[in-house]
Amino acid sequence: MRQITYKIQRFDGTKSFTQEYSFAHEPGKTILWGLQKIKDTLDASLTFVAACRSAVCGACAVRVNGHAMLACEAALDDVVERFGDTLIIAPLGNFKVIRDLVVDWEPKIERMKEVKPWLIPQDEFTAASGCRQSPAEFKKINTQTNCILCGSCASECNKLSADGSDFYEPFIYSKAQKFVADSRDKGDWEHLKPAVERGLWKCVHCQECITKCPKHVEPAEDIAKLRQTSIRLGVTDNLGARHALAFVADLAESGRLNEVKMAMRTEGILRTAARLPFALRLLRKGKINPLHALTGNAPVKGIEQVRAIMKAVKEAEK
């Protein structure tokens, strides 16, 4: 009979170890079914948490062969088709593990609190009569409200894995964006400021958070939206904003990036000068033309259309 094997990365509070469990395959089941089967029939000490088993409570996210997913929703047949009948199951990455597949949410929530994840209502509204919001305004927050705090995005975030000290878990940016985008909220800067101060421009754009979110939340998109808002609010005195603005300026100027100016506009002349060895290497390979620092790029053919498009986008954003 066909057997499924889970190689589970376990932790008992002091040591980590991998334990294998095998059980008979049944069609139409889920990863969580397998975990429950092990706990019920093979080893009651296997520790994981789960509640709703319908992909809405966020408790059961684990890593299967290196990919975060909700155990309750992940169809076993699909997963084994992709990875084979032996699966490696581990707790979420970028979380402190408590035991086996159980991770600690407390530090994450402490960080989330920094973006004031609650509505700061406009003065015109009251608790007695509630709020008003148009259907179109409601739509602007309808994806962010899908977040179930499962941690899948945080688990797979490459920036967090590299260094979490200057970056939030992706869902925290989505939470901030939920309130920034909410027409009922008056505290844009209060939600945004902590994000600007902690990593808003440091997302590495790997899009793993979007790919891994089981509820179609798009943290990387929300990070982009928060960046736009921060620039709109005039918060441009940072590398990220300057870099973005330099991009826009170049495009308007010539329709192309000016690598030399870009560096100077983003980092300033002094810091750019410190990158001279790197610039020389680029120069040797013909990647940059130092003259462009003075002359700028020659406008591309059709620059007028580029400018027209940019204007249209700006209009549309209003």
Binding site: G28, K39, S54, V56, C57, W118, A127, A128, G130
Partner: protein, 569 residues
């Protein structure tokens, strides 16, 4: 020893709303205790909406209509004074959570959108697409963070400690450390949810709905009221029992048997699919029983057809439903009907609340709200959309009741608490060290089997007497069952063992209440007593634990304006 003026147990909507209300009064120490992490609660699984007379979708809606719909929906077992109170406060509680940040769907004028729901004479169910419970739960959590509510996460309630009718505190297991901790409290709000997991295989409830608070209150001497009133939601996914929101019917979905017929015309010619849950569940099961369903036995089902609603409605308003149907039933409602069958959904019965304005119980200091409680506003059948309203209204008033109570009381002594903790410590040591005995999973599966087969939608005396015997046997086996994990660190096997004990405790009360309610009312359908019997049973069942024995008594239903009448939809 930990101590709090107000301790709220359970972090669903009712618990968080109560903690928030208590926390907002200031000057009191308040804590919110949960066996998981706050946002893992059953509230988040509620999809369809929350009822309140806002008159946004229908200017002719009225409080009287909401009251009457609820009374009639309850099959006249709801207490009418409590229902009036509930309906009166629902609109302001909904406006209030809008102000807290609940992202409601909106009508063209920017007001909260409202839809039709089963058993209602007006579209008064406020919603946020089909994730209303989820967004309410998360908004409550946000507010708890805002107000600095102290959260004790991953703490399992073990027992309430009461001395001479007065609360002393509770004993809990700190799951992470494995410590058994006495906690002193002047007032406790029990908001631990329902006990649907006694029907393990076929319930919409999360794994955590194991009636921990109900069982603890029952052991402390508080009666369980109407425990036999267990609601079966008509539209559970056929193969898993996962909930397909009532919005499926509210938005106009059809229920179809294998002859392609909209069979609800036989059971509710006027309301059709929009009849109450008990009526629709009965209709579906009757179709299956009489051979007009698809499939056989436990795998039988009927179909919910949404295709005529159109792509836009399904994607906009039933998006989550569609995802669930695709993930768990491998069916896309845009192109195929969804196989569905009733599934255990809600405990109308629960901890006997005797003062609905404060959610107080018979024991000084103990309050109850939400599904764990029985106030009773849902009687023999809860209306869809009334449970989210219930937890927002009564969560708030329980929080207030507990606050007032805590202000008037002193902390009790520590002796009883220490004794109770010691007993649980011994129990932990013994239970986790047993090498022999049946597993908790085996007890759980057998309980679910007998409950589904013998105390399910259609009930009769012979089946239930047999169930009673089986449950007594399971309770005996439970005394020597095996936990299978002796670790102190995050021992979920021991938590499951505690939960199993609670499920057995409550299942026994469900069966006792059901056997003696010799009538059919709301969700309680007897083959051997097919009519409602107002002469004998216009009464709440009360099951009380006295010297280790289950005692049965009755209390008349409170009637204000609405005399029981025949119920037609």
């Amino acid at each position: 020893m930990l101590k709090f003026d107000v301790l709220v147990i359970g972090s669903g909507g009712a618990g968080m709303r109560a903690a928030l209300e208590a926390g907002r009064q200031g000057n009191l120490s308040v804590a919110l205790m949960t066996k998981m992490f706050p946002t893992r609660s059953a509230t988040g699984m509620a999809q369809g909406g929350i009822n309140g007379v806002l008159r946004n979708a229908d200017p002719n809606d009225s409080l009287e209509k909401h009251i009457f719909d609820t009374v009639k929906g309850s099959d006249f077992l709801g207490d009418q004074d409590a229902i009036e109170f509930f309906c009166n406060y629902a609109p302001e509680c909904i406006n209030e959570i809008d102000y807290f940040g609940v992202p409601f769907s909106r009508d063209a004028q920017g007001r909260i959108a409202q839809r039709n729901f089963g058993g209602q004479s007006s579209p008064r169910t406020c919603y946020s697409a089909d994730k209303t419970g989820h967004v309410i739960l998360h908004t409550m959590f946000e507010q708890c963070l805002k107000h600095g509510v102290k959260i004790l996460k991953e703490m399992q309630l073990l027992d309430l400690v009461v001395d001479q009718g007065e609360l002393q505190g509770i004993v809990a297991l700190d799951i992470q450390s494995g410590e058994i901790m006495p906690v002193m409290a002047k007032a406790v709000v029990i908001a631990t949810g329902g006990a649907g997991r006694m029907y393990w295989f076929r319930t919409t409830n999360p794994f955590t709905s194991t009636g921990d608070g109900m069982a603890a209150a029952f052991r402390a001497g508080i009666p369980l009221k109407d425990p036999e009133m267990v609601q079966f939601h008509p539209t559970g996914l056929a193969s898993t029992g996962i909930l397909m929101s009532e919005a499926v019917r509210g938005e106009g979905g059809y229920l179809i048997n294998k002859d392609g017929e909209r069979f609800m015309q036989r059971y509710a010619p006027e309301k059709m699919e929009l009849a109450t849950r008990d009526v629709v569940a009965k209709g579906i099961e009757t179709e299956i029983k009489e051979g007009r369903g698809f499939g056989e036995g436990v795998n039988a089902y009927v179909l919910a057809d949404l295709r005529h609603l159109g792509k836009e409605t399904i994607l906009e308003k039933l998006h989550g439903i569609r995802d669930l149907a695709i993930s768990f039933e491998h069916v896309d409602p845009l192109s195929e009907p969804i196989p569905i069958r009733p599934t255990c959904h809600y405990s109308m019965g629960g901890i006997d609340v005797i003062d609905h304005t404060r959610c107080a119980t018979a024991i000084t200091g103990v309050f109850a709200a939400g599904e764990a409680s029985c106030i009773s506003i849902h009687g023999a059948n809860r209306l869809g959309g009334n449970s989210l309203a219930d937890i927002m209204v009564f969560g708030k008033f329980a929080g207030r009741g507990a606050t007032e109570c805590a202000r008037q009381r002193q902390f009790g002594g520590q002796t009883k608490l220490a004794e109770a903790a010691k007993l649980w410590q011994d129990r932990f040591n013994q239970a986790v060290s047993r090498q022999e005995g049946v597993t908790v999973a085996s007890l759980r599966n057998r309980l679910a089997d007998i409950m589904w087969n013998n105390v399910g939608i259609f009930r009769n005396e012979a089946d239930m007497l047999a169930a009673q015997k089986v449950i007594d046997g399971l309770i005996a086996e439970y005394q020597t069952c095996k936990v299978g994990d002796s670790s102190k660190l995050f021992n979920t096997a021991f938590v499951n063992y505690v939960e199993m004990g609670n499920l057995l405790t409550i299942a026994k009360a469900v069966v006792l209440g059901a056997i003696h309610r010799q009538e059919s009312r709301g969700c309680h359908l007897r083959d051997d007593y097919t009519e409602r019997d107002d002469r004998n049973f216009l009464q709440h069942t009360l099951v009380t634990l006295e010297s280790g024995q289950y005692k049965l008594s009755y209390r008349p239903v409170v009637i204000t304006k609405y005399q029981p009448a025949e119920r037609r939809y």
